[in-house]
């Protein structure tokens, strides 16, 4: 048997029943099209989500003192008070793996504005904190280096605080009182929503660290140091560097209790991986089901085709076609049918994804792997579902096939 004539014969038979071939292919077209479109949109929105999560700070490192242990009694986290502004300056000046470093001096206070009040957390931070946490201003400005230097009593409000103290107003320029110290509101930050641990990240007031440290706190204790690593991929190197620097500064011998702990946002990364995995599984399931349905459609039509062409099979057998030749002919026909369906599906999938992407405003990423995969899969579907009808055809008795009306 010549491959060229086999393929030609299959194409001719498909072209002979154009409408029926198209309807047969429809299952595969829709299946492959849906998979390609969903994959393209999924990848696009995954890129969007990744950008958003990066905005939360995947390169964020949080350094805080660990609990001290005195005669077996362990105090809570942060009771050792071992971090100071010297440590912040040390890391800021010497750690090459760190982009930005900011202290966080935390005070919980009742805040009064006019005749309303609210209990919230006041964080004394440096200017770089805005970059580290990706805080975007909704109105007004973040404080400046000058504010830090002169210990200016300025406050930047989180969205929740602004809503509680000044419902429906822009608080920029208004005075608030924190433990009887008057602060001027200079800005309101955009909402960040809940953190991955369920805390309201907008129930917060940010002030220059110097103001909080010397006017509201004890003048020396830095509860937490926040830093951003140079890149997400160099988190471990950054941690090692921090550990080495702080050990030296605090004269902690190698192997001794370091007295502080460094955490990162790796659970967010893990969550992203998990979500992506689930999404891919879901899409594969959809792909599997729709291609299964398409494959059954092909099998159905091939069975009809075998019955309809019983006489042709008889003729071919009479002039010397082996059972294997007949098997191959119908197998190739089923495969071409599903491959053409697959190619049309790819085109309609890409077109559909572009269209949906435009309508929904999401990014569309068509990966060659997905296209290659679906072509291979549709060919496999053609062979798998074409085999039973093809085998049925090849097992026909030539005498009966020739007499078939």
């Amino acid at each position: 048997m010549k491959w060229r004539s086999l393929i030609l014969a299959a194409l001719r038979s498909i072209a002979r029943n154009k409408l029926r071939s198209l309807l047969t292919m429809l299952g595969v077209i829709i299946g492959v099209g849906a998979v390609i479109a969903l994959m393209a949109l999924g990848r696009g929105s995954q890129a969007d989500i990744q950008a958003q999560i990066a905005g939360l700070g995947t390169n964020l490192l949080i350094i805080h003192p660990t609990s001290s242990q005195t005669a077996g009694v362990r105090a809570g986290s942060g009771t050792l008070n071992t971090l100071t502004m010297d440590d912040v300056a040390l890391l800021d000046d010497n750690a090459g793996m760190l982009q930005e470093v900011s202290p966080v001096i935390r005070v919980q206070e009742q805040v009064i504005a006019g005749n309303s009040n609210w209990n919230t957390q006041i964080n004394g931070v440096s200017v770089s904190y805005q970059t580290i946490r990706n805080h975007v201003m909704e109105s007004g400005d973040f404080f400046s280096e000058r504010d830090v230097k002169t210990r200016n009593k300025v406050a930047v409000l989180g969205k929740t605080v602004a809503n509680e103290l000044f419902p429906g107003q822009d608080p920029v320029g208004v005075q608030i009182r924190i433990r009887n110290v008057p602060f001027t509101v200079i800005g309101v930050m955009q909402s960040k929503g809940q953190s991955s641990m369920g805390q309201d990240q907008d129930d917060i007031i940010l002030s220059p660290w110097s103001t909080v440290l010397y006017r509201l706190s004890d003048g020396k204790t830095v509860r937490t140091i926040m830093a951003s690593a140079v890149s997400e991929t160099q988190m471990e190197e950054a941690k090692t560097e921090i550990r080495a620097l702080l050990r030296e500064a605090h004269r902690i011998p190698a192997g001794g209790d370091v007295g502080f702990d460094i955490r990162d946002q790796s659970e967010i990364n893990e969550m992203l991986t998990r979500i992506t995995g689930t999404l891919t599984m879901l899409l594969s399931a959809i792909a599997g089901v729709s291609l299964l349905v398409g494959g059954i459609g092909i099998m159905n039509i091939m069975l009809v085709s075998v019955t309809e062409r019983t006489r042709e099979i008889g003729i071919r057998m009479a002039v010397g076609a082996r059972p294997g030749d007949i098997l191959l002919q119908f197998l190739i026909e089923a495969m071409i049918l599903s491959l053409i369906g697959g190619l049309l599906g790819i085109l309609s999938g890409i077109g559909g994804a572009e269209l949906l992407g435009k309508v929904m405003g999401t990014a569309v990423v068509v990966s060659p792997m997905v296209i290659f995969g679906s072509v291979a899969f549709t060919a496999a579907v053609g062979i798998f579902f074409g085999f039973y009808p093809a085998r049925k055809a090849s097992q026909l008795n030539p005498i009966d096939a020739l007499r078939y009306e």
Partner: protein, 252 residues
């Protein structure tokens, strides 16, 4: 040189509990270049014999040698190859592939030819089409050909593999009398060129164009004799009356 040798060939079909003996021991020898008509009423076993001779079926017992090959012990694949190499079929219903040109229909057996004997399939197909007088119809589809022309395409297809024997199963069954005689004329011409022809028919008018008649009844050969003076299809066609009636013309 014997092309076809049957020795005590029998074929039994199981029909539920009973068995039907379609052939009860047929022995027959056909030499190269013969033109044999096999006759018999329906139920005589001639279709069964035809299927066995065409290697479409296997005998229950007995031997069948075709061109020196014992074919009664072969499997499906080997039988397919024998059909491809040694046998040319002509059927009552023409059995051409629809919507496929005459030329491609004629080429069909070469698609399954593994021997590679014929170097240029298309030229060979053209040659056999010209042999049956259809060189100018090569690119017509069967639907655009008359019954006689379709049967001649089928004959060309049967010839393309240069078979040892040409088997014609009621080749004139679907044709009018004049066209039937035309087809017989083609067979006679091929026979004079040395091609062995085995014709199955139930029409005595058609059988008498052959050189030898074998008659079957109830699965046995009851008559096997040469035709003293075979009718000549070409002279019958020349003497064909204008009104198309064939009664008595040229029968002597």
């Amino acid at each position: 040189m014997d092309t076809l040798v049957l020795r005590d060939l029998s074929r039994t079909f199981a029909m539920g509990d009973t068995s039907v003996h379609a052939l009860r021991g047929v022995s027959l020898t056909i030499a190269r270049g013969e033109f044999v008509a096999i006759m018999g009423t329906s139920g005589s076993g001639k279709s069964t014999l035809m299927n066995l001779l065409g290697c479409l079926d296997q005998p229950t017992a007995g031997d069948y040698f075709l061109d020196g090959i014992q074919v009664s012990r072969l499997d499906r694949r080997q039988l397919a190859d024998i059909r491809n190499q040694k046998i040319g079929f002509v059927f009552q219903g023409f059995n051409l592939l629809p919507r496929t040109s005459a030329l491609e229909n004629v080429e069909l057996p070469l698609l399954y030819d593994r021997s590679g004997r014929i170097a240029d399939p298309q030229r060979q197909a053209m040659a056999v089409l010209e042999q049956v007088g259809l060189g100018d119809r090569a690119h017509h589809e069967p639907a655009r050909l008359s019954g006689g022309q379709q049967q001649r395409v089928a004959i060309a297809r049967a010839l393309i593999n240069q078979p040892a024997i040409l088997l014609a199963d009621e080749p004139t069954g679907n044709l009018d009398t004049h066209t039937s005689v035309e087809v017989m004329a083609v067979f006679q011409r091929l026979n004079t060129q040395g091609i062995t022809i085995l014709l199955v028919t139930h029409e005595p008018d058609i059988a008498c164009y052959a050189k030898r008649i074998v008659e079957l009844r109830d699965g046995l050969i009851i008559r096997d004799e040469p035709v003293a003076a075979p009718r000549l299809a070409d002279s019958d066609l020349l003497a064909w009356p204008e009104n198309g009636s064939v009664t008595g013309s040229g029968r002597s």
